[in-house]
């Protein structure tokens, strides 16, 4: 989930250029084409990274609302280590917990989640509780709760 390095992006660009260059006539030479390919990859990487940070901010905001903590999101985002741990914890959730948690993060009410996943209300609540507990545990360990 970590952002791509310069090496990664350049390597991806080279693969694209290598696939194309033999069959393409470059009006202004291959270099402007290569720059274009890499700029697009870079732009996409920024978009993905921004999206990732936004999702994470929303998630942390919701957790903080629930547990009544008043640290600012900006303060927390600076803790890259913490951010990575939270993402790691999210990947450790079971598929059942993830399905419920994902809908809940989108702001869907528990009653609606119950209908969509065809579950009992208690089951939804328990899975959600477990998912939040795992994340809460990490925030606590890092001293944020």
């Amino acid at each position: 989930m970590s952002p791509k390095t310069n090496e990664d992006i350049v390597q991806e660009a080279l693969v694209v250029i290598y696939d194309k260059y033999k069959h393409t006539e470059f009006e202004n030479g291959i270099l402007p084409y290569a720059y274009g390919v890499m700029d697009n990859l870079l732009r996409n990487d920024y978009k993905t990274e921004t999206r990732r940070n936004n999702i994470l901010s929303d998630q942390i905001t919701r957790l903080l609302e629930i547990y009544g903590n008043h640290h600012s999101i900006e303060d927390m985002i600076n803790y890259q280590e913490l951010v990575d741990e939270i993402w790691e914890a999210l990947t450790k959730l079971s598929n059942k917990e993830k399905a419920v948690f994902k809908l809940w993060l989108e702001g869907i009410p528990i009653l609606e989640i119950q209908k969509r996943l065809d579950l009992r209300r208690n089951t939804v609540a328990v899975r959600l509780f477990r998912a939040i507990k795992k994340l809460k545990h990490i925030l606590k360990r890092r001293g944020f709760l």
Partner: protein, 136 residues
């Protein structure tokens, strides 16, 4: 050279022409040695003619893109400009050779493109982070 440059920048057309012809003479050996430094080009093209071609093209481009009267004009920029034109020429030549099936030219071409892309991405990231810190 300095006095010619001063006169050319003040609008003296003759001084400008003389300055660029001196620049040609000064740039030519630089280009020749750069092209000779590339083993693949050395055996594939006529370095002497190639160097003259690059030098003339580069000076013409320089006159067009960075006029001598411009406030941004400097010898340092002119040299950077020249180096970019040399790289463009080498890359163009290597592309033709690689397309014709020369695998050594292909390796050399992709090494050069890689170098250019790395320079660009570092510059772009630096600009982006400067922009970000300004916004903060």
């Amino acid at each position: 050279m300095e006095s010619l440059l001063k006169a050319a920048r003040a609008g003296d057309r003759e001084a400008e022409a003389e300055f660029f012809s001196k620049l040609f003479v000064r740039f030519l050996p630089l280009i020749t040695s750069e092209l000779q430094g590339n083993a693949i080009l050395k055996k594939s093209i006529d370095i002497e003619n190639g160097s003259r071609e690059v030098c003339q093209t580069s000076i013409n481009n320089l006159k067009r893109v960075l006029p001598i009267s411009s406030q941004n004009w400097s010898m340092k920029r002119a040299v950077i400009f020249l180096h970019n034109d040399i790289d463009d020429f080498i890359i163009m030549t290597l592309t033709d050779l690689a397309k014709a099936g020369d695998s050594a030219a292909e390796n050399s071409l992709f090494m050069m493109i890689r170098k250019k892309l790395m320079e660009r991405i570092v510059m772009k990231r630096r600009r982006f982070s400067q922009h970000e810190s300004k916004n903060e």
